[in-house]
Symmetry: D4
Subunit: 225 residues, 8 copies
């Protein structure tokens, strides 16, 4: 029965356009190895596993040497064909260096899904000149993912400067009255800027996925039809 625990949903790509992503947290090396083997046997051409610790990755990298491991975001993935699927930039903007692991998770999944992604880091509002120096790059984006902890003000500031939709990702970076990301989450939900929506605390994956979903739309000719 425990074996059945991991049933890969090989139909998901047909239903939602994206094959199943594996959430690595709480799975051990043997389980992940078992999943990857199973996916290979089903001729999967791309595999993405999020939240794999450095220790597990050290072992898995030996077993599956063609996979890439990102030490910062803890993602472990492989894709046979890395051709871009969507044109138009997704830009991930990150307030501080401590927010980088979350931002990088957004970058990884959005790239894995076939998008052209830029990362702009260390542009927190405490030194707003840094943000303005990147404004051209930010305004060129189809979609923006804004990652920030502490007071999460960056989403509102960027929201007032651009036309593109913004996915705000609060992080748990901070301490004390940050309450594990609550301050950034509430800030972003109460943004005075329009065109900002929010995903869960530290959910870089969710931010990158949503950005891909929007960017895919932009790459269809005049809407759905």
């Amino acid at each position: 029965m425990i074996v059945d625990e991991f049933m890969i949903d090989y139909e998901r790509q047909k239903r939602t356009g994206v094959s199943e992503i594996i959430y690595g947290e709480g799975k051990n090396v043997e389980q992940i190895e078992h999943i990857i083997d199973d996916m290979f046997q089903h001729d999967q051409k791309e595999i993405f596993i999020s939240r794999v610790s450095q220790e597990k990755a050290n072992v898995l990298k030996n077993i599956f040497p063609k996979f890439t491991y990102n030490e910062l975001s803890k993602t472990f993935y492989w894709k046979e064909d890395e051709t871009l699927i969507n044109s138009g930039k997704i830009v991930v903007v990150c307030a501080g260096t401590s927010d980088l692991p979350v931002a990088m998770e957004a970058v990884d999944i959005a790239r894995f899904l076939g998008n052209d992604v830029d990362l702009i880091s260390d542009v927190g509002v405490a030194g707003i000149h840094r943000l303005f120096s990147k404004l051209d790059q930010i305004r060129h984006a189809n979609v923006l993912v804004v990652v920030a902890g502490m007071e999460g003000a960056l989403a509102s500031v960027i929201g007032g400067l651009v036309e593109a939709p913004i996915i705000a990702v609060p992080t748990s970076v901070g301490y004390g009255a940050n309450f594990h990301g609550l301050s950034a989450l509430l800030s972003m939900l109460n943004s005075c800027s329009n065109g900002v929506s929010v995903v869960n605390i530290d959910n870089g994956f969710g931010g990158g996925y949503m950005a891909h979903s929007i960017n895919s739309l932009a790459n269809k000719k005049s809407g759905i039809e």
Copy 2:
């Protein structure tokens, strides 16, 4: 000095593509009349005022007979040219009849901004067959706005059925351990479906605006370029 309090930002359309929207809550009839007059004098071709109570609307409708007032959503607006700007549907889906005022606010602003919008109401998960009977219509959307109170489960259920991005709008409908919308908000932020992002509780306006922002992107030829 009090007069200066209401300074319409006539440059906003240039910066973000949308002219200033007036938040009516906390403004009296005289102030709203003053604002509309000022906007007419600046040759504004479209005016949208949210959260205008029935009492205020009764007076204002006499002064500005060409405006439309939606009793359900409490929006008061006028637009010279009602031509659609974006092709492709925005579909607003609403769990229960009590959520309709919030859903209708999303519908109003998205239509006002030039989108073709459908409203599907009363498809809460307690009678999921109602949702499935609307699935074709839902899958035809470019963007979805899902409005639900209580346990807010509708966003997750739809999220597993479609490819389009979803903006989830939690409402404060409910009582007790609903804590004024907290239950729906947390549900939506923790959605197990991908491609779901969230705006503030009861923020139908924010949901509709974000949907417009995404749909506008879909209406540009192959991304930004």
Copy 3:
């Protein structure tokens, strides 16, 4: 004095129909061994100890080889006579694989108390077709235990599809704005479906016990009399 700390209530079966269950968390191997010995000396025919860690179980299994240890749910139990007491199914339904330890605790206690129990796992609302493929089995239940973390939407969806009473068990599976199970708990308490009641976060034991209590009622002839 410390010895008196563990006084088994050998009268409980007479009062409530169920003998005392031992909560293993916070008890060391020596204490559990002492309790089991004491229960054997009192001619107990069934012993159930919840939340025994793998490490403790490794030692205890050597001492008491006829006991069963479930690695997933961490329960350690033995029953002389495994005959079913109640006819009619209890069905435990589980949203994701991470919720399995909690679901399995419900399964274990309900089976231990003499019920016929089915477990259906991995039917989260993000892929609702999986749930519908199991609907016959679900509708055949006398009582349902629905175990889900994150947004906990599964209880509401099933609630709209069946006539049987549902015990909803929120789990702490998730992160960020999940707030250690608060999101699933509030979702389930605010269910828009009727016939749903809720136990504590991660309380698989409580869910299984309540299901047994209800199922026992169904097995009496026409009510109490």
Copy 4:
């Protein structure tokens, strides 16, 4: 479009065994009148509307004189055939007189659904002798609904005394650190007694409905088959 807002689900009885219940809060007299007329035209034999204020009831009672209005619970209902459907008692137990409106809502809906219901009030744990004087009556129940505000201790105390399943209904009765029912809710979720599950704060309706769902099971011969 506003008219469509109230679409009675006339198929619900077939799916879940109970016809649609109308939640009166937020509906005006005209809307309720419209709904009742519509239900009469569809040959409904029983109509239950919860949370109808005294003011609205005064008007509605004139229009529909055969309906009953309960001033305490604010329910407004009519049933052509009042024959009991389930044998076996449901007992609703209520801690203090301030909890009576919630308890009475549980009584009303359970009776409306065809159950034999007793109400025991004013047996809060501050005078536990009152509870013990009713113990025979309590132990004779098939199902118990325990309604309490403030510290909500009554559910745990009864839970240790009976074999029947208990539905605990926390109320918002209290002030200060009661936080609108949070204290009773958390108490009941953390009950040290087994066989207790919980519905939303002030949700007498939910408690009575769940009790009916369980009692119906007890009235089937040996389970479902």
Copy 5:
């Protein structure tokens, strides 16, 4: 005994440099009149009463015509000698027009205590160019009071642009996940900018008083000595 309830502390000016300020909320017209009379009899040269409603002020203004009433901030005050005591500007910066009542309370008390105060309103971060157009004025301040609701991001943005100490005043402006000012409060406490400290939600008075306390220091020659 009730009369003794209001004992003006005529020694406070000696101890803390500022005479007693009267908090008007919860006091009726007769009580306020009684207090002012008492203070006149003790030869007070300045009287400041915060949070006096329009209705009470209408009566009090007739009794004490030399007093000033600010309809926006609800303060009612009189000062014999309006000479500036401190040189150097205090600048109160206000995010949106809804925050003005709180900001104006800060302005009133700071001016009353003898400071030269500027008010800059409507410079929320959603249109950050408005803030930059006022930067010279902001940088010229000895102390800044930054008043903002919703996401409260303004304090952090200004904090990165100036050398002067900033007193951040969160307001309860907003709705939903604003939780009556919690979002702005947490944002400001978690500011990534240095030199920012925070007072209670809607406490314009506290912000203005603290600014005065700091500005007074700046007006002493080289520290205390």
Copy 6:
């Protein structure tokens, strides 16, 4: 400077009747040794150190063999003269065995301060007959300390049965919606019984100290005079 960190307040006994108690948590073995030596040099006749871990106690017991260490409550203490100071019983009542460490801390400090203390454990409300079997002993108390986690109902139940004042000590025993003791804390603060007051979560020390303070009063002849 670090040395000055621990300045024993040798005047406290004169002011409040009790010499300084040392809070051991966060102090290492060397620091505790240093404090005890200092107290010996000041001719202290009694020393009480709370929250000393087993590891630290193993070392300290070798250095100060005449001290007593309670493994359950983690208190480490010595008293030259163990004569009772107050007559009349303090009774500490404890709901479950997991609450014993907190209850024992109350017992230890109350005994150390010269009171005659009884401990009654394992009388949680889930088996209320156990409580009633101890009622004579409970009613004989001058003061009661009631220690309970989970739903904390025990304080209310005892409160309705006795005349003596009750100090309720909530514990963090439990999980999930217990929220680290919040459920028991809120329950006790909202007790429907009179004569119950509450100390901090897990604060056995505070409960025992308060009981001593009350019991001392009972041992003075007719009040203070």
Copy 7:
């Protein structure tokens, strides 16, 4: 059945030493009149009704002219024999004038129960010299009830100055991050002073009752015996 709702517990005095107190909130004039009449018919010699609004009291005072109504605390009571029962002072200390209604409720019930009670008001910690000027009176108390809102610091300050037990009553006085009394409640629960215990927010009645319970103990000869 509604009539039975108010069943006076005429046995309570025998069990707990105090006859039943009536909580007036939520009861109308007719109900209170009915209760008083019933108590007179049972030869009650003392009647205490808390939380009676000014409007209700105006009517009731005409019906029962021998009753006393305290406009500040909203208590309505009568006692045939006003002889003191307990010697020794209870001192109620109150931080600010806004806390007086709560403090006065404590005074009223403690006096009604036969205690000699002093009230000291307006000694908040912002002007601590006021507190010190009353220190002799405070130190002369058998028991102290300390009533404070906002930061609730007064309980800790007094706690370090006296030997008597302190009942701390947090009030909801304040706004913003006071969160309806949460700040004072948490402060008092976390008091660094020993011998402080806490009742519910705004529960002046509970504070006064607990003080009476303790003071009664002090008036027995050497404990219970």
Copy 8:
């Protein structure tokens, strides 16, 4: 790319008067070494790194022997020219010895920025005589930083005794209903004393920095001009 993660902002001193401070938490020894080397190469004359663990400091101290490490506050810093920049005292006042690490962080940063700083510790309100014995020293301060955990009352008490502005720093010292510093935070935000503002829980750095910012102002001749 990881290397770019740490980009020292060498322009910050020009903008805000203070060079960049390094937040050590989450950075390893290699990264800190790399940062210090980079700052030396840019001719920085002062380097301050907060929150460096003892383990990391042991290694870094060998590499950079001229740096100072404070074991209590965990700060690691070096400054070529230690001349005082501001005259006038900053006084850091600390309630209990457990608050010392936070207080010392305030002392370290304020001294590092060129201020003359006194530390007064162990003056919690439970023994208020200790505070009064230091009152002259406290009143001589230009600015006060008041550091306290648990109920955080110290800020209010000092606030009523001095004219200088107070920066209150709540700490997470405590347990249970302290909720990781929430009690002290809310207390300080609700201070009944004027001239108190607050920084984040445990943010000694923020308190010291704000004090420096204010003290710098006091050291300019008569304001800004």
